[in-house]
Symmetry: C2
Subunit: 212 residues, 2 copies
DNA sequence: TCAAGAATTGACCCATGGGACAATAAAAAG
DNA sequence: CTTTTTATTGTCCCATGGGTCAATTCTTGA
């Protein structure tokens, strides 16, 4: 028993370090393998090799393969999420918040085919993995809430909802396109595409109210 | 040797029938398994079972697993494609052609989670399977061409290109959403979403020219 | 310095999967 | 009615993969 009091939510730096570091390495190794091999080709041994360790160690830190990849999914999501959060902190007007979300979702060093391939493989498993489905729901919910924080200042609640759905779908679709045909869509193109979508939808609204 | 002359491109009805029927059954069985199990869980034996046959027969008709699933992908795509083609035949104005493509891509009996799950699994393999990548390119090219056949009458060439990309991305994104959260998006919602996107983009264009 | 616990490994087990093949049944051709 | 293809099956083989386990090394707290 440690001499200091430990709370579940504190981070007893010294104690947890080693095992947490390993776990993180393995999550990232898992993701890297996913990038190269896809879910069908991802094996524990390949993950171990990628991490420069033995297969046994992987199962020492994760109960089984499923759990490992669930954690890989969380990890990857956290990274993407941080990019948005960082930009969101610097945004103040509603429009700036929208742009923060949009640009954050196409961050140069993240908007890359390999990342997309891995992500796609994970998505393909979502229907058969309740944990992953939950993660996915959280992601969507946060995305939607981020968008609404900007959209509420720009459109009626009903429209805001609808536009938020469109934006997330469009972003996902552009990512998918990048994965399926690398090079067919640049970061700038993607950003412009989504911004145009928002601008167009808002313009429609203006026309309707002005015309009526 | 047959008594009649056979050309590679003719379809000697009687002769090919049996084997062609089997192949089709197997392609569909493969797709069905994909719907249930995903690419990671799809095995030759499950496909055989699904088709009510033995594993051997699967490899009799398809050189290997990869080829089988490539053909499953072609099959599924052909079905989706037909839905669009059928509607496109009845469309005459540019706007009708757009609507045909949009509605065809969300056909009630096709816009369903299982189909989407299977499709997603196939997409996840595209980066590692050149044949699939080719199919994917063909799909995108046809989609784009279908859209442009309508868009050319509605916007400048540059805009048409851009809007076509947006529409395909948005459609893909909405499908993805359906797959990840079944029930979160209805056929009507999806159709409306894409139509609004097009309308919005066109409205933007009008405003720009009118304002200038 | 030593003992307790964690980290790490490699060997092992067993199920499964992809694919080859020979043997049989069924059709077609002649 | 025979011969030649074609359809189909079941068996076999071997590699691989997930997961368990005991044995070993490494940490670390006392």
């Amino acid at each position: 028993m440690s001499t200091w009091i430990r709370h579940a939510w504190t981070d007893p730096v010294k104690l947890k370090r080693l095992s947490e570091i390993r776990r993180k390495e393995l999550r990232q190794a898992a993701f890297a393998v996913l990038e190269r091999e896809g879910i069908a080709g991802a094996t524990l041994e390949k993950v171990a090799a990628q991490a420069g360790a033995s297969k046994g160690i992987v199962l020492h830190y994760f109960r089984n393969k499923q759990e490992l990849f669930e954690h890989a999914m969380r990890e990857a999501n956290a990274v993407l999420c941080q990019a948005v959060i960082a930009r969101l902190r610097r945004a103040h007007t509603p429009m700036e918040r929208m742009d923060a979300v949009i640009e954050g979702n196409f961050e140069e060093h993240l908007f890359q085919p390999p990342l997309c391939h891995a992500w796609l493989s994970l998505c393909a498993e979502v229907p058969r993995d309740e944990k992953m489905a939950r993660i996915q729901r959280v992601i969507h919910a946060r995305m939607r809430s981020n968008l609404l924080s900007g959209l509420r200042g720009l459109a009626s609640p009903a429209d805001a909802d609808d536009i938020a759905l469109g934006v997330t779908a469009l972003i996902d679709g552009l990512w998918l396109r990048l994965g399926l045909q690398p090079g067919s869509v640049s970061r700038e193109q993607a950003v412009r595409q989504v911004k145009n979508y928002v601008a167009g939808r808002l313009a429609l609204r203006e026309l309707a109210t002005a015309g009526a």
